[in-house]
């Protein structure tokens, strides 16, 4: 499990140059192979968080606040002090941790069922209070762990196991733009939406995660990075088709970019909602 930590080198299977120079290795803060489905974005996001914390040398002073959903086992993969939260309550738990350990780095790792449905009150008020922790919000538009049900973030017309004919906006409303909503709050010091749909976007996602932790270090206020991600199994697609659908359909509804970085004078107010019924997910 801790081969990389002990040797400081590559784990088996990593690509290395002929002179033994390490080109690519598992981050020290990322331990086991994960149990996520093929093509799931959580593995990428876990790695980005691990890389950022390792590069910033914060692993020994960071506390992860977990959530409930597919990423419930994040504490098994990220080698960090961690506490479990009841479903949706991670932002309240993180508030408690950070208030008594203001000198530690605290972040929540939450999916969209956890944060954008059952946990909306907690995330809104933590942001409104300007709590000085970071939220990594992984939005794949579906409840993955329970079998692919509709989430508040599900696209209009998207088929899920609880919207079998496609999400009907007349009865179930529209996708919830969490980052735009939170961007209105003065307590939010940093808010960005990123995507893992291609390598370039992954690079920008990592930069946003890094910036969010820097903002927490500076004590500016609440920070959130919404990471648009995939759920091939829940979406009924192959991993590559899911990535393509993420890049086209999902990103058309959820624009990526930096919404708030108050220390840099960036504060975008909420845009008018683009009410474009998107295509039904083709199985």
């Amino acid at each position: 499990m801790s081969t990389a930590r002990e040797t400081g080198g590559a784990t088996p299977g990593d690509a290395t140059a002929t002179e033994g120079r390490t080109i690519y290795r598992r981050p020290l803060l990322l331990s086991n192979p994960t149990s996520y489905c093929p093509g799931c974005g959580h593995g990428i996001v876990h790695r980005l968080v691990a890389e950022v914390l390792e590069e910033m040398d914060l692993g020994g002073e960071t506390i992860l606040v977990g959530s409930v959903g597919c990423s419930v086992f994040a504490y098994d993969y990220l080698r960090l002090d961690s506490v479990e939260s009841p479903h949706g309550r991670a932002a309240a738990v993180a508030t408690g941790v950070k208030r008594v350990r203001p000198d530690r780095i605290v972040f929540t790792y939450q999916g969209d069922g956890d944060l954008a449905a059952i946990g909306t009150a907690e995330i809104v008020h933590a942001a409104a209070r300007g709590e000085r922790f970071t939220t990594i919000f992984v939005n794949n538009g579906i409840y993955g762990m329970t079998g692919g049900q509709m989430a508040p973030t599900t696209l209009a017309g998207q088929r899920t196991t609880s919207s079998p004919l496609g999400r009907d906006t007349a009865t179930t409303g529209y996708p919830l733009p969490v980052t735009e909503m939170l961007s209105l709050l003065p307590g939010v010091a940093y808010a960005a939406r990123v995507s893992v749909a291609d390598p370039g976007l992954v690079g920008r996602a990592k930069a946003a995660i890094r910036r969010a932790f820097e903002v927490q270090q500076d004590g500016h206020g609440f920070g959130i990075v919404e990471v648009l991600s995939t759920c091939p199994v829940g979406w009924g697609m192959t991993p590559s088709a899911a990535m393509e659908w993420l890049r086209t359909e999902v990103m058309a509804v959820y624009p990526v970019g930096t919404y708030v970085d108050r220390a840099k004078g960036i504060a975008v107010t909420m845009p008018a909602p683009a009410v474009k019924p998107s295509k039904t997910a083709e199985a």
Partner: protein, 384 residues
């Protein structure tokens, strides 16, 4: 650790500011001050070394929140008025995991909202002290004093197989003592602890000694402060494999068995030669005490058994106390909840009766005396 290691953290206040007009402000350390129950509980928690308080306004416990809103920042400690009781208890979960000594308070409807996180904290073995200032129910009910949450408190509160120690003060002075004891129990056994009060105890003012107790700080090896130089720690209640979860439950049950063996508390009054033994806690015990005096004045040999720990219930002590009696009468401000534990303890050895009022109504001593007479005349053992 800034909040936990603030400079004033060890200099606990020995004297507290009295409410204006009570005379307490004349001397810096008066013998007695008049304090409202809510405020006394709050100040006792601060003296005990409470690092963090999380709450939400609800009558009749709002003064506890208000007291903490002023005093905790004065002490350099954490205070958050949460957006809901759900959030308050989850903030407590986080602060407790990070090693803080935490107090949360609410009243009945808010306590129901906290059931989920209480179960998580029990499962995660996280200490916290939760004050329930009981009010009338069910539902929104009333803001009057009640004891309708007895079963909720002693039988588990949330989901899953767990118990929490429940301490029931019957005076404000006793509430102050029990706040310190609650923190000791919570940390000794790594468990939530409930301090079960009611609207009368919380709203009344009584003279108390302003000499509150500090509770020694332990440095447990399980808290989260960053895994610098050691293996990461995970605080959780999840164990997906049934054999793992059963093993975890057996650990919890062993803890509960130890608490049951070691931590039962009760008080007895006028029990020698008592024909009728009253069983009551909290405010109802105050009324029962007056009823016992009146009954004895009228020639009826009555005594009072007062459980202080409602869980673990002092069953054996009650059985002993009732050994020579011909009737046992549970008096409570509910439809009959405590009486269930009384019956389990008595195991049919003596007839058990119940007298209760609900909805914020409080039994009068005279109606309790009447209930005693009915019990005495109904019970065959008494009439013979």
């Amino acid at each position: 650790m800034a909040a936990l290691a603030s400079p004033g953290a060890d200099a606990r206040p020995r004297a507290i500011a009295s409410p204006p007009g009570t005379g307490g402000e004349a001397s810096p350390v008066p013998d007695r001050v008049l304090m409202k129950g809510n405020e006394a509980i709050a100040e006792a928690a601060i003296a005990a070394g409470c690092d963090a308080y999380f709450g939400y306004p609800i009558t009749p416990q709002a003064e506890l929140l208000e007291w903490m809103a002023r005093r905790m920042p004065e002490e350099g400690r954490a205070f958050v008025q949460a957006e809901s009781e759900l959030a308050a208890i989850n903030m407590a979960l986080g602060a407790s995991a990070a090693g803080a000594r935490v107090l949360v308070s609410s009243s009945s409807p808010g306590i129901s909202l906290m059931a989920e996180a209480m179960s998580y904290m029990a499962g995660s073995r996280l200490p916290v002290v939760l004050v329930n200032v009981m009010r009338g129910g069910p539902g929104l009910g009333s803001i009057g004093a009640s004891q309708g949450d007895y079963l909720q408190a002693v039988k588990g509160h949330g989901h899953g197989d767990y118990r929490v120690p429940v301490l029931a003060p019957s005076s404000i002075a006793e509430a102050i003592d029990l706040v310190g004891d609650a923190f000791v129990l919570a940390e000794r056994y790594r468990t939530p602890v409930i301090l079960l009060a009611d609207g009368i105890l919380a709203q009344a003012m009584e003279p108390v000694k302003p000499d509150f107790r500090a509770v020694e700080r332990t440095h447990p090896g399980w808290v989260l402060d960053g895994a610098d130089g050691r293996e990461p720690r995970v605080i959780k209640s999840l164990a997906l494999r049934p054999e793992d979860l059963e093993r975890h439950n057996l650990t919890l049950q062993a803890t509960y068995a130890e608490i049951t063996a070691r931590e039962q508390r009760w008080a007895g009054e006028s029990l020698d030669g008592a024909d009728v033994v009253l069983v009551a806690y909290g405010t109802a015990a105050r009324i029962a005490r007056t009823a016992v005096e009146r009954a004895r004045g009228a020639g009826l040999q009555a005594g009072l058994f007062r459980p202080i720990t409602l869980w673990p219930f002092p069953a054996e002590a009650l059985r002993d106390a009732a050994r020579g009696a011909c009737a046992v009468l549970a008096v409570e401000m509910s439809a009959g909840q405590l009486v269930e534990d009384v019956r389990l303890a008595i195991e049919g050895a003596v007839p058990v009766f119940h007298h209760g009022r609900m909805g914020g109504m409080v039994p009068t001593p005279d109606e309790v005396v009447d209930a005693m007479r009915r019990a005495w005349s109904t019970s065959e053992g008494c009439a013979s």
